[in-house]
């Protein structure tokens, strides 16, 4: 963890410090850390545990349980391809393959220049206009393989 990360972690944790009688909430804290830093560095676990008054193992357990908590910084843009049933039925698998061919990385990897990270998601709740691709907070519906390159183009 860099010094910059370390001080931002401390800052984020300050807002999560439990004030009795409120009980420490590990998940809320980790989400706040991820919001501030973009990810939750595993090297920050002891510091988080100390602020919350819980064990390192409890923090590590929650961190490893939830798939939306990430321990590595993502690329500048996060591409999430929906693998839910409606997207699957509408051949979203073909869209996923087209994206992989375009960015040439495996799931959960980041392109070498740090532009994109690719992930799969289990449902975006956008089933009526599927297949769905989510880029950062932008949800795109009715995506077909030929649309992939123009879809990704604006995200530099």
């Amino acid at each position: 963890m860099t010094t910059r990360h370390s001080s931002r972690l401390a800052e984020a944790l300050e807002t999560c410090r439990p004030v009795p009688p409120a009980k420490p909430n590990i998940l809320k804290t980790l989400l706040a850390v991820q919001f501030a830093l973009g990810h939750v560095p595993t090297s920050g676990i002891p510091q988080i545990a100390q602020v919350l008054g819980v064990t390192d193992a409890q923090v590590a357990g929650v961190l490893s349980y939830y798939s939306d908590l990430r321990t590595q910084p993502p690329g500048r843009h996060l591409i999430r391809v929906c693998m839910g049933e409606s997207c699957t039925a509408n051949h979203g698998g073909r869209v996923f393959r087209a994206i992989q061919e375009h960015v040439r990385i495996a799931v959960k990897d980041t392109t070498p220049e740090g532009r994109f990270t690719v992930e799969q998601m289990s449902c975006a709740g956008n089933c009526a206009v599927s297949p769905t691709v989510m880029i950062d907070e932008d949800l795109c519906g009715r995506v077909t393989p030929p649309l992939v390159s123009s879809l990704l183009e604006p995200y530099k």
Partner: protein, 515 residues
């Protein structure tokens, strides 16, 4: 001010006489935006001749982006609109009366009556259209009388388990405690479902009203909306709505304030199960707990807690406003009221359908789904999310109600209906289902944690051409074990889509086996 200068300024900032501007309605629902509504709003943001009102969506997503305007005979709509259509719309050319759209006209909208009409965060519009009448009625009743009204309504939970709502409420009401909680389960994880998202984004005060009625009935002073991480717009809308309700002094339960907050999850399907959800709400791993004790007796922080689905809470205001008997008069013997069905997959007309229980699956697919998407042929339909059974063509005459589905060994779940076409590979689909459970199992019980991984491996072996007839027998045996011994519905239901795929499409599996 010249015409040219007007063009440079967003229309909202210019005081044009109202007769100059045409008021247009465009949905701000996430799926409408994903279909292109956001592009329209951007393209038209500086057009002085229009006033764009962002509403909820009518749920006819196959027509989105859809733009509407007022006429003396009600609203007219333009479908699948692109930015260049604006002159046509402003000129009133080529619109269709909304009341004449068969997909909408044939529905019975109660819970979704406001959709496409109101601005989601306009509390005055919500009230003008009958909002808060249920809460007002509840405030004139004793807690026991509220529960009695729900008993008469015969409302069953809409999240999947279909448990009678009044029974849960009665337990929580009768359990003595200085602190009780109301929790809305907005962890809408079943792929193929989106009605909770629509409610939170499109009619958030309805959810708040339903939760407040519950709070009054059981004596709760705190509420949480557990919203999945994938729904940022829904969480934002709910937070705004709570703020507005608080400012309007609506969040008062008798004499003390009802404290309501939105909490986000972090991508765990099993957190839709109520005990796992409460674990997650307390900040821990979302692991399923053995029941009893039930949350209605001992839930969040060990206190009596009602956990209900968003759609369930959103159904309650109308029941209190119109009476339990009104609700009980709709639907079938064991399934009263209306159900929000969510059509997806390869149908021509995907979207939200609210109708009384009882119509057959075939009628729903034909009448509302409009048949198959162009160029594709029907293969199977899955009802009830990733744990729901597959139905082939020959079994489509099943009525949509809890009893008929239970009798068929299937589930209605949260109302998701996904249609697969003949290009779907059933072995791959079965593997997809098992892999999903293996990924999402919380790990608490062995049948689900280990069974789902072994199940996925067997299917991978079959897919790679290494399976034998014994592999299929083993898969069936494993499935029966998981059904009988898993702690919650994730492990207990996971075998259904896989085993129904094998049952209805045996040739596809046998064709992959080693001879």
């Amino acid at each position: 001010m010249t015409r040219e200068t007007i063009r440079c300024v967003p229309c909202q900032l210019v005081n044009l006489p109202p007769s100059f501007m045409t008021r247009l309605y465009l949905s701000n629902d996430t799926s409408s935006r994903a279909a292109g509504a956001g592009r329209l709003a951007d393209a038209w943001s500086e057009r002085p001749e229009i006033q764009l009102i962002r509403t909820s969506s009518r749920g006819a997503f196959f027509l989105e982006p859809m733009v509407e305007r007022d006429t003396p005979d009600g609203r007219e709509a333009w479908f699948n609109v692109v930015p260049d259509d604006l002159p046509r719309i402003v000129g009133g050319v080529g619109g269709t009366p909304v009341a004449g759209i068969p997909f909408l006209q044939q529905q019975t909208r109660f819970t979704f009556a406001n959709f496409g009409i109101t601005e989601p965060l306009a509390l005055d519009e919500y009230q003008t259209r009958g909002g808060l009448k249920g809460l007002t009625a509840a405030q004139g009743l004793s807690p026991e009388a509220i529960v009695e009204e729900l008993r008469i309504s015969r409302l069953r939970g809409r999240g999947g388990a279909a448990f009678p709502v009044w029974k849960k409420w009665q337990v929580a009401q009768r359990t003595g405690s200085e602190q009780k909680y109301v929790v809305a389960n907005a962890d809408e994880g079943d792929a193929g479902t989106y009605c909770d998202r629509m409610i939170m984004e499109g009619d958030p005060f309805r959810l708040i009203e339903g939760m407040m009625i519950c709070a009054r009935a059981i004596g709760a002073t705190r509420g949480h909306i557990y919203c999945r991480y994938e729904y940022p717009a829904a969480a934002r809308a709910m937070r705004f709505a709570i703020q507005k309700a608080r400012e309007a002094d609506l969040l008062d339960c008798d004499d003390y304030p009802f404290d309501l907050e939105v909490v986000t999850g972090a991508g765990s399907y099993v957190c839709g199960e109520e005990t796992a959800l409460l674990e997650s709400l307390e900040g821990r791993r979302g692991v399923v707990l053995a029941k009893p004790p039930y949350p209605a007796e001992s839930g969040l922080y060990g206190k009596p807690t009602i956990v209900s689905n968003v759609l369930t809470f959103a159904t309650i205001p109308n029941i209190l406003a119109n009476g339990g008997a009104w609700h009980a008069s709709l639907g079938t013997e064991g399934s009263r009221g209306t159900m929000a069905l969510q059509l997806g997959g390869r149908v021509k007309q995907p979207g939200l359908v609210e109708i009384p229980f009882g119509l057959t699956l075939r009628r729903v697919l034909d009448q509302f789904g409009g048949g198959m998407a162009s160029g594709s042929r029907f293969k199977a339909v899955q009802v009830g999310g990733p744990l729901g059974s597959l139905f082939p063509e020959s079994q489509l005459d099943i009525p949509i109600c809890y009893d008929a589905f239970a009798e068929a060994g299937a589930i209605l779940g949260h109302g998701g209906i996904v249609v697969y076409d003949d290009e779907t590979n059933m072995v791959e689909l079965a593997r997809h289902f098992m892999a999903f459970t293996a990924d999402e199992s919380c790990g608490k019980c062995t049948p689900c944690r280990v069974g789902s991984v072994r199940g996925r491996e067997i299917l991978e072996r079959i897919q790679a051409g290494g399976g034998t007839a014994e592999s299929l027998d083993l898969l069936k045996d494993l499935g029966e074990t998981m059904k009988a011994t898993s702690l919650c519905a994730l492990g207990g239901r996971a075998p259904y889509p896989v085993l129904t795929a094998i049952e209805h499409f045996p040739g596809e599996f046998r064709g992959r086996l080693k001879v």
